[in-house]
């Protein structure tokens, strides 16, 4: 039988008040141009129309804020990109044993950690 971890996490989840604005912001963040939205329970799943492996989820009435780890091939590049998109950088890129990481918050307080995984051995 498969272990739970093998089920995997499909999309990062963010709390959103105004989903129209949030769709624009996060689509830009993930570089999604042609998106499809699917209503599911309290959530709105936004995914790339062509590549099904790229997307995110917005939750309207979530009691908790989200804390998402996003991996990137270049933390510095994406840190500047997020800053330019209006995200507030609460921790500039720092070296960790996993790699280079920076921390952001959006207007609602959703936390995003950008992680560029690095092999130090």
């Amino acid at each position: 039988m498969d272990n739970l971890v093998r089920l995997g996490v499909r999309y990062p989840v963010f709390k959103a008040k105004n989903t129209n604005i949030a769709v624009q912001i996060y689509s830009q963040l993930f570089g999604l141009e042609n998106t499809t939205s699917v209503e599911m329970f309290d959530a709105l799943v936004i995914k790339n129309s062509h590549a099904s492996d790229n997307g995110f989820v917005l939750v309207r009435n979530s009691p908790t804020l989200s804390y998402s780890f996003l991996t990137t091939s270049n933390c510095i590049h994406h840190t500047l990109r997020l800053k330019n998109s209006g995200f507030s950088c609460t921790e500039p890129p720092i070296s960790t044993t996993l790699g280079l990481a920076s921390k952001f918050q959006d207007e609602l307080g959703n936390v995003i950690i950008l992680l560029e995984e690095r092999e130090y051995s």
């Binding site: 270049n74 510095i76 590049h77 890129p93 070296s95 560029e116 690095r118 130090y120």
Partner: protein, 287 residues
């Protein structure tokens, strides 16, 4: 072929494919140099140092240096030349408290020497950062702000390398006087550079000691204190690392590689390789 990108701060990035065997260049200013294949030789005062993939060389501001290369195949080289003002700005950010950063702006015009001109290991964050910069150069990225951010990170990463490779290792030397520790470490670093530059030749201890202006006994004792291995163990490790790089990147036979990295015979190379990596060079080639 040489690509040069000069940023607004007058720092410059240079990506270089050197094909001319008699190539020469003059370098000035604080700069970082690395190669991704082959090797490149630099004349620093009276000593020659050669960098190979896996190393980077730091040169200080102040005097000119010349570089040549003697590889049979084209050498892919990359260097960063820092503007003295950018460098002083970085130093001022590190040294001063936030409220003092707008004071003493004249300090930023200098370009003081601030680290020993030595070969350092090209790994960790420094490697990732320079690879990103090279990637930007190859893709002709125009974003000055992003490039400068990476240059700033390069200096932070180099400070970490400097702390680990210089300060921590000098601290291990058993001398009570700070100035003696600094001087002995400076000579040991020259010995280490000599081994790194000439690892593929038949080196003797007296030759290494002579290059570093130390006696053989003094070299043996202090090298082990600073680097946790004897000069011979260090030489063997470098030969094996370079051999491993060649096994992964070239089509040469195990026998040829063992000769190229300075092992007298291939059986000694295979034994040393197996002892270190728990596999044979042939098994690595097959994988």
């Amino acid at each position: 072929m040489k690509q040069v990108r000069v940023l607004e701060t007058n720092s410059a990035l240079m990506s270089h494919v050197i094909t001319d065997e008699g190539y020469q260049e003059t370098i000035s200013g604080f700069s970082i140099h690395t190669v991704f294949n082959g090797n490149k030789e630099y004349l620093l005062g009276r000593r020659n140092v050669t960098i190979y993939p896996g190393d980077f060389l730091v040169l200080n501001n102040g005097s000119s240096r010349s570089g040549t290369f003697d590889s049979k195949s084209p050498v892919n080289a990359f260097s960063i030349q820092f503007n003295p003002g950018f460098l002083s700005d970085y130093r001022s950010v590190l040294v001063n408290r936030t409220e003092k950063l707008l004071d003493n702006l004249d300090l930023r015009k200098d370009g003081q020497q601030w680290c020993p001109e030595n070969i350092y290991p090209f790994k960790g964050d420094m490697k990732y950062n320079i690879m990103h910069l090279k990637n930007y150069m190859d893709n002709e990225l125009e974003d000055d702000l992003l490039l400068q951010e990476h240059l700033f990170r390069c200096l932070i990463d180099f400070s970490k390398v400097y702390h680990n490779e210089v300060l921590m290792k000098a601290e291990k030397l058993k001398f009570s006087s700070l100035s003696t520790r600094k001087e002995v470490y400076r000579r040991l670093a020259i010995a280490r550079d000599y081994i790194l530059s000439n690892y593929n030749k038949a080196l003797t201890l007296s030759e290494i000691a002579n290059a570093a202006c130390l006696s053989v006994n003094h070299l043996l004792r202090t090298f082990k204190d600073a680097f946790n291995q004897t000069p011979f163990q260090f030489l063997t490790r470098i030969r094996l690392e370079r051999a491993q790089f060649m096994l992964k990147t070239s089509s040469s036979s195990v026998r040829n590689i063992s000769m190229e990295v300075g092992f007298g015979c291939s059986s000694a190379f295979i034994r040393a390789y197996k002892r270190t990596y728990s596999t044979t060079p042939t098994e690595l080639l097959r994988a």
